[in-house]
Symmetry: D2
Subunit: 311 residues, 4 copies
């Protein structure tokens, strides 16, 4: 177990990990800049078998311990009312979806405007740039052309030989590296790093639970490690942060705070990684082409997504 990290440590880690200005004073893409065309082409070249695996949960419309704000899915017209006056002869159905996607069980991407530290966003933009009508900077439109790169899965329960990590478990850098070694893979510049904690397995065995109760995630000391590795996007079957956090005042969720704000690293929350983990074992490799296609919502703080891995 690592020593407890302090607010001083985190302030220093935050400052050291800052990518502000690195890609220009007007940049809003942050670490997505690491994903060059060349990187993307190299990622596509990883595809051999062609098997595709989704990393997303089902759109969660039913209330549950981990879903206090259920998504909406309602039919506009079903099979019992499939004719429409505007187009005689057409039999059609349609539906409506609605979601405040930063909930606890919808797989989504966080835009860089989703979190502030001391009322500042990535690249120094002020909190007031996120207005009641939408974000005027750092919105999800930074990823409007999609995110495609090499995905790397680090499967920590597999490393430990357990089905899932206990709530509150904080994974430290040496454990990430141990997983790299065990799996024969190394997270590099421009990668989308996915860290599995076994959340779904725990839910299946013990029932679903509120994230406020606890989550396994990354230890705050992973911040410098992620920065050094030049990760483009970080994702998890949890929310990347271990809950409860380090207990340092002002830093309840250091991964969210340092990734989104300091580094400009977009986050993928509430992924479903068990199918992917199985596929990695089956294909005996933990790298793959990963594509993420956020909806193009002007001013949005993120998007529900269905990331697709191709082997």
């Amino acid at each position: 177990m690592a020593e407890q990290v302090t607010a001083e440590y985190l302030e220093q880690a935050f400052e050291s990990a800052k990518n502000w200005g690195r890609w220009g004073d007007d940049d809003q893409r942050g670490a997505l800049n690491y994903i060059t065309d060349k990187k993307r082409a190299a990622a596509a070249a990883l595809v051999r078998d062609g098997a595709a695996v989704s990393c997303a949960q089902e759109f969660a419309t039913q209330p549950a311990a981990d879903n206090p704000h259920p998504a909406l899915h309602m039919m506009v017209a079903a099979g019992d009312a499939c004719t429409i006056p505007e187009v005689p002869g057409l039999e059609t159905t349609s539906d409506f979806i609605g979601v405040a996607f930063h909930g606890m069980s919808v797989s989504h991407i966080d835009a860089l405007c989703h979190v502030f530290v001391k009322e500042q966003m990535y690249n120094g933009y002020p909190a007031s740039d996120v207005r009641s009508t939408g974000a005027v900077r750092n919105s999800i439109m930074a990823a409007k052309d999609g995110i495609a790169s090499r995905g790397v899965l680090l499967d920590i329960p597999r490393l430990r030989g357990v089905e899932w990590l206990e709530l509150g478990t904080a994974i430290e850098p040496d454990e990430l590296e141990a997983a790299e070694e065990a799996q024969g893979v190394r997270a590099e510049e421009g990668d989308i790093l996915l860290v599995a904690t076994g959340r779904d397995a725990r839910g299946r065995s013990l029932g679903r639970w509120s994230a406020l109760t606890g989550m396994a995630g990354l230890h705050a000391t992973c911040v410098p490690w992620l920065h050094e590795r030049r990760i483009a996007v970080l994702g998890s079957d949890g929310i990347s942060d271990a809950i409860p956090g380090p207990g340092a005042v002002g830093w309840p969720m250091p991964l969210h705070q340092c990734c989104l704000v300091a580094m400009g690293v977009h986050l993928l929350d509430n992924l479903k990684l068990d199918s992917l983990a199985e596929a990695c074992i089956e294909h005996e490799r933990w790298e793959f082409l990963l594509t993420i296609a956020p909806l193009r919502v002007e001013g949005g703080t993120g998007s529900p997504v269905n990331p697709i891995a191709i082997f």
Copy 2:
């Protein structure tokens, strides 16, 4: 101009194009079955430069002639109210999106339950399988692991040397083949075929208009052609159908009716294809890896999507 097609012609075309039972009596994936792992791997192998292009419109929240039912995008909390009692020290913003996506200006995919012919869906399932609580068959979950395959763009305005096709223009098979020849590409089994009509260019020049007024699209005689070519998915910057339709009673939108119901071909409506068309010219090829990642909505009749082409 082709002769007018009759209801008899369309009934025959529908019957001839039927893939019902082809992949089993329980199949709900339809022509997605054409996309094998091998096909997907071959599509990934097309990637050379790594450039990525989105084929989606912006999420359309403002009312317009072509957007009678605007999508909803509202902030749940903006920069002026970014603290939350549940997590002291966290500064965060969030938002809500909601959309009845089968509208006229949101890029979306149609599930196979979106259209019936004579109260039947693809593979013979009855209309009553689409209930007021969602579709129990042929929902968008057929594409839950995403759709990745070779994308082929046929750029008809370019072929004709115009900026856009006039409203009501119906593209016939020989013109599709002329475009193939001019572009040096051929649509084949398992491909995602995209047909550009110049809709965005027309809208920029003449203003946006209601789809009910007219749209360029495919002629009904393309149905046998698409079936023969074993296209997996069909998409357009319009809605694939030419509007007004052929005027044959019962067949207002033959492409929707024959693709979704007879062939089990998912459709992509209201794409934005001008950036893609430019990229094709720039890369001097009209084939690319195309990935589509519908949200995993149980019972859904489709999904808003942001298809990403990679060259």
Copy 3:
């Protein structure tokens, strides 16, 4: 404690309480027909002091044990973005509300299409008249001109000398009559009868709970009593039914089933009655003018409401 009621008893009670055809084969207003102009004028004549009291809960946007599907309230534009291009010089804010109001903590009225018994609604209309696009019969439009009549509150906790009734308590007709006698009031033809169970007091003391756990309400033997008294509308701070119900197969919620379907009595669920109860004590009378104004939603199964009592 009353003997357990059986399915036979309830079938008989249902049949005996049927008002089908009473106001014509085409009627969709049911017991609202008891509220004549004369009745309404008499109700208004009850007003003396002019004090007004709301019987509605706050619109519940936060998840809670009794609110699994929170209502939506989101700003469209707040003070930080109050100018609009359409009207230069105007500073304005606006918001959005959305709710599936038949939840457990939003005060609402049930339309007669909200419940069926054996796939029939009030007046014999079939379940298929409630389509995926809305109810074509028995919608809330039956009350489109509002409901104003004499309101009568029967305060059962006060009668018993307790703060609240225990979960599962089923109030029988003799207790309703005891409350009438104690309060010096008698529920009559065309009245809106409100029955207080102390739900809010219990919630304040013991915390909120899921209605599925249990609710105090009326015993099934109240059905003939309500029918005989010709009550126009029934309301409660619970959901009128005692939960769990009588345990008779097919009759989980006999009040909902017999009031809405047999009698055509609209129901008011999840009211807030503690302020009203205090006002009744203060004014020393348990009758008042009560007005209920459902939103005019064509095809709606009810409406959120804010019933107002005037003394």
Copy 4:
């Protein structure tokens, strides 16, 4: 035709009409304070016949020239899917409504936080009190116990002997007084004043139109008149303001600006007044009990309402 009013005139009118501090520095109810219990009792005493008339439009879910942001009404479960696992034996349907109600065709009430002048609300509260999470002052909760008072209808088309007023018509105080005289009624302290312009009749004859095109309403010179008369609430079948406005810079909608901000007078927009006008003629009186019951939305900028007049 009145002389054009200037910005100076309006600034003076605004200042003169200010009720800031009149009911205390903490007041958020504004002119609702004019409606005392005594006033409410007197209004109830107006009821003789007991006839009830709604003043609300149908919830407008279809796009139209005057409805660019249609309200949402969707079934959650209809007759084809009426059983629910939670309550075996229950057959039930339910629906969802959602609306950004400050649109042009939903009858609604404006809260005092809906409009600012120079970034101030009624009683001097700053615009920043209306946050992205809701209004912390001057929300619709000011009317949480409903609004019941004497309603007075001034029927201007009837006075003029026309079916409707032309777009842009601005009604001046002397015309309001002429209507009072013709109808034998006088708007007084605490009244809810409704002004009919014949909007619905015009729409039925000429088709619906965008409010931005033009609306009949009150002339800016009515502001001092309304203030002097101590009106509690103002409503119209339009939006009270004549459109286009007076052309004075900074004062595009003087009635909204002066009523909501200076006087603290809540507004009722987009009412349906033709049935009420007929009822007034039938009953030969233009005064009645009027009840308005906003939904109790904490932080809300208003509410859809169904005002009910009782004669």
